[in-house]
């Protein structure tokens, strides 16, 4: 036995009302190790990390630091032992500068006042460690999201973190930013900091992790050493079954043009007009780096930010879309990127969320037809397999995948001609992802035109009939079924020319 592991978890259990979130979970973390913790949503990853970071306290079991039992009962207690959690949603104050964010709550003081000079010098040293090359007096909101992430890490280092827990750190980063982040993480490891890395992106895990711990339904499902980390092996442990065929897609015979945009100009986007077509029974993917203007394009199609110029045709008829209301009337539907912000009214019941867009259609002279409402909700819950106690359950209490299904249910109740989806599987577990792909397939087969944005290459390659790649607000190229491969997409997305043109 050399020295004790830096951090060890022994048989930790945590019960929440109605659910056993952690069931005797154990893991250990060595010095300078990158340990990936993976599992479907609800597998207990977040709870475990919150226990380690002192946000929550376990009911049973021990946490050991350097072989000594440690009572981590507050965030400060965790800090004292060098354990820092970086949340998926960054906890930064956009209106403060970098230095103030790094030292928020621990400002160096002189005579009771903030000692700005010391703070700036020390902060500059901290951000240099993570390779962030900006002035510490820059306001955080002016930085791109990838750099904000680095500020968050610098903040962790400024408290002498020995264990850095990162929850889905790349979920909103571009590929380039991700690479920078990985380089920083590897540097940190080399200098002896240990990383607990949580991600749904298995390719990243494979690329980065020294070891993988898989959780399922709150208990240890297995562990993979560095040379065993393979996509299929991870998926098998996560879902508890063998998933050989990841995407079971069948090619479609495209029908008539369902959605046609001609020379539309996205407000605040590139000055050049954009044109695109989506046929019925077709699934078209939009690929591109974060910030390439994909969401902006789709929101313009849906009337959230109406086009400055250009024409839209749905099913061959000219339509004027200047609000989501117009878009829906024309037969469009949008599953937005941020379902909590724009997709759902979280505090309302499943039934009320499902019926929201179709309420007016079903109403009798402005009076809600409660029976029809219940019926539609019931049908959708059954149809999409939404796991909910009943249709009066509050959406907030559902898992991410089920929430996303509720968003889809809203639109399916309207039977749209064109379905727009923006990152439809972000932050949801593999099982639910699968169901959503199947649903997209089914809709396409039924004659719906599907246009979706995704940052996950596997998804883009797996289910699209055709892919539009965006770069800096323009459509940089289009790839048909036969031309689809990762390299071609990346070429276009990064501003290069496709190899075969």
């Amino acid at each position: 036995m050399s020295r004790a592991p830096l951090l060890e978890v022994r048989g930790v259990s945590k019960r929440f009302p109605g659910v056993l979130a952690l069931d005797r979970v154990s893991l250990s973390l060595g010095h300078g190790e990158i340990l990936a913790v993976i599992g479907e949503n609800g597998a207990g990853k977040s709870t475990l990390m919150k226990v380690l970071a002192g946000v929550q306290h376990q009911d049973k079991g021990d946490v050991l630091v350097d072989g000594e039992p440690a009572a981590i009962d507050s965030v400060n207690a965790a800090y004292d032992r060098g354990i820092v959690l970086i949340h998926q949603e960054l906890n930064l104050c956009g209106n403060l500068d970098v230095a103030s964010n790094v030292y928020l709550g621990r400002e160096p003081r002189r005579h009771g006042l903030i000692d700005h000079k010391t703070m700036r010098t020390q902060a500059q040293a901290c951000i240099a460690k993570v390779g962030l090359d900006v002035k510490v007096s820059t306001l955080v909101e002016r930085l791109p999201i990838g750099r904000q992430q680095l500020v968050e890490i610098a903040k962790a280092l400024s408290v002498d973190a020995r264990v850095l827990i990162m929850d889905e750190p790349t979920s909103s980063l571009s590929t380039r930013e991700t690479e920078t982040l990985f380089a920083v993480i590897e540097d940190l490891c080399a200098s002896g900091v240990s990383i607990v890395y949580i991600s749904h992106r298995l390719a990243e895990v494979k690329r980065l992790a020294h070891r993988v711990v898989v959780l399922r339904d709150g208990h240890n499902a297995g562990e993979l050493a560095r040379d065993e980390i393979e996509h299929d092996a991870m998926v098998r442990l996560m879902v508890g079954r063998d998933v050989s065929q990841f995407y079971a897609r069948k090619p479609h015979e495209p029908g008539a043009v369902a959605l046609e945009a001609e020379d539309i100009v996205v407000p605040g986007g590139a000055p050049e007009p954009i044109s695109l077509r989506v046929h019925a029974r077709e699934i078209v993917g939009i690929a591109g780096l974060v910030g390439a203007g994909r969401s902006e394009l789709i929101e313009t199609l849906f009337g959230v930010t109406p086009a400055v110029r250009g024409h839209l045709r749905v099913g061959g008829t000219d339509v004027r879309i200047s609000s989501p209301k117009d878009a829906i009337a024309a037969g469009l539907a949008l599953v937005p990127e941020d379902r909590k912000q724009s997709g759902l009214v979280l505090e309302m019941a499943v039934r009320e969320n499902v019926s929201l867009p179709s309420l007016e259609r079903e109403a009798r002279r402005a009076f809600i037809d409660k029976r029809a409402e219940r019926e539609v909700a019931g049908r959708m819950i059954a149809d999409l397999g939404i796991k909910t106690r009943d249709d009066r359950q509050v959406v907030k209490d559902l898992s991410g995948g089920n929430q996303q299904k509720v968003v889809l249910a809203k639109w399916l109740a309207l039977a749209p001609r064109v379905l727009l989806l923006d990152e439809p599987t972000r932050g949801i577990d593999i099982g639910a992802k699968h169901e959503i792909y199947a649903l997209m397939e089914r809709l396409a087969a039924d004659g719906v035109a599907v246009l979706f944005i995704s940052s996950e290459m596997e998804e883009i390659l797996g289910i699209s009939d055709r892919v539009l790649v965006m770069h800096e607000g323009r459509i940089a190229g289009e790839l048909g079924r036969g031309e689809l491969d990762e390299e071609a997409v990346m070429q276009l997305a990064t501003g290069g020319q496709p190899a075969r043109t």
Binding site: S322, A327, I328, Q341, P357, L359
Partner: protein, 394 residues
């Protein structure tokens, strides 16, 4: 139902305690008074509940009550020296100005790209305003016959309050101002306007308009010694209409939804601006109805003070009745009971002979206590539900 349990208990406790301590509390006369005051304030509270449900606030209610009261008394009672037709001609001129102001605001909104109204419609609105103004200004003066004058004045005063609400809604949605700011400016503006219009003279109906005043002071005999005050009937009708609107129609559902999450509601294809405007319109209209009844009841309307702070009483009653200032939550019945609790407290303080100076202190404490109790009960219920689920996961 559960939501109003707490406030109903509070009402019963206060009533029972006061009745036990004072034999004069549960007399027919006193109960009738409480009911009348509760109804008058309840109407304002129901109105503000709509705005609170959408996540907004209306601070101008008291000033609208003052403006409506003064305007009503002045128009109904033109002083003898006024030229013939003064009342309706003034109305035409004011209405013309309002139309022009609305057209300008709308134009500004178009300028900012928040509205899609066509330019031509705007022009028509402005021209109609100018025409109305000119008609009021230059038409020959003649008095309307009495049977027409009364409904004309009452209806126009209501229309005035409705337009105030529309204006608030327009400023909030189309220009994107904060509700607090818009209605705070309203609070100041309408108060100043009232004082200017009435030249600080106390207004009233004297001994006239007894028929109309029955709307506020009349009573419907139920038994030999108990009669139901007419405002209670007005409140009942308005509350039922409001309850149906909020719970049974798509308008109410949309307001509740946008109060919780406006973005998601807009993304669901709902013109959220329209429903926000509707909420402010309802609120000001009810403030106008309340304002008319208050004026008829009190019969002495001081331009500088009539209605001061009423918005705060209304908001307090709404909060007591279960409205969340975060939006998306509210029950009309709860709000009505909340207003009743406030009035019962006022009355209890007087009937029990507690010094008036303590009035606000007691009411503030009771509201605070009520809100804390409500929060505790909610948490307890959540805990119990969770425990039940844990025991019985199915």
């Amino acid at each position: 139902m559960k939501k109003i349990l707490g406030i109903t208990t509070l009402l019963i406790v206060v009533v029972a305690a006061t009745a036990a301590l004072s034999p004069n509390f549960l007399t027919a006369y006193n109960v009738q008074n409480i009911i009348r005051w509760s109804a008058l304030f309840g109407i304002l509270s129901v109105g503000v509940a709509f705005v609170i449900v959408t996540g907004g606030i209306d601070l101008s209610i008291g000033s609208v009550v003052g403006l409506v009261g003064c305007t009503l008394a002045m128009l109904l009672n033109p002083i003898d020296e006024r030229p013939p037709g003064w009342a309706w001609k003034s109305v035409f001129q004011i209405q013309g100005c309002i139309a022009i102001v609305a057209a300008v605001i709308w134009g500004l909104a178009r300028f900012y790209g928040r509205s899609r109204g066509s330019g031509r419609r705007l022009l028509w609105l402005g021209l109609a305003g100018a025409a109305l103004f000119a008609a009021g200004r230059y038409a020959p003066g003649f008095d309307l016959p009495a049977w027409l004058h009364l409904p004309f004045v009452v209806l126009w005063v209501l229309a005035l309050s409705l337009q105030i609400g529309l204006l608030h809604g327009l400023l909030i949605t189309k220009i994107g101002l904060q509700p607090f700011v818009v209605t705070l400016c309203g609070l100041l503006f309408y108060r100043g306007l009232t004082r200017w219009v009435a030249a600080d003279q106390t207004q009233g109906f004297g001994s006239g308009f007894t028929g109309l005043r029955k709307l506020a002071t009349g009573k419907l005999p139920l038994t030999d010694d108990f009669a139901l005050p007419v405002p209670a009937i007005a409140l009942a009708v308005l509350a039922i209409l409001s309850g149906v609107l909020l719970n049974k129609t798509i308008f109410g559902r949309y307001m509740l939804a946008l109060g919780r999450n406006e973005t998601a509601t807009r993304y669901s294809g709902i013109d959220t601006d329209r429903y926000v405007i509707l909420a402010y319109a309802i609120c000001s209209l009810l403030a106008g109805i309340g304002g008319i009844l208050f004026a008829l009841d009190i019969n002495s309307i001081q331009p500088s003070g009539h209605g001061n702070f009423y918005e705060l009483y209304a908001i307090a009653a709404a909060v007591l009745g279960g409205c969340s200032l975060r939006g998306g939550e509210g029950s009309i019945l709860g709000v009505v009971i909340g207003a009743a609790v406030m009035r019962v407290l006022y009355n209890a303080i007087n009937v029990l002979g507690i010094p008036t100076q303590l009035e606000f202190a007691i009411i503030g404490l009771v509201i605070l206590g009520g809100v804390i109790a409500d929060e505790l009960v909610k948490r307890l219920a959540a805990k119990r539900r969770a425990a039940r689920q844990a025991r019985d996961p199915a």
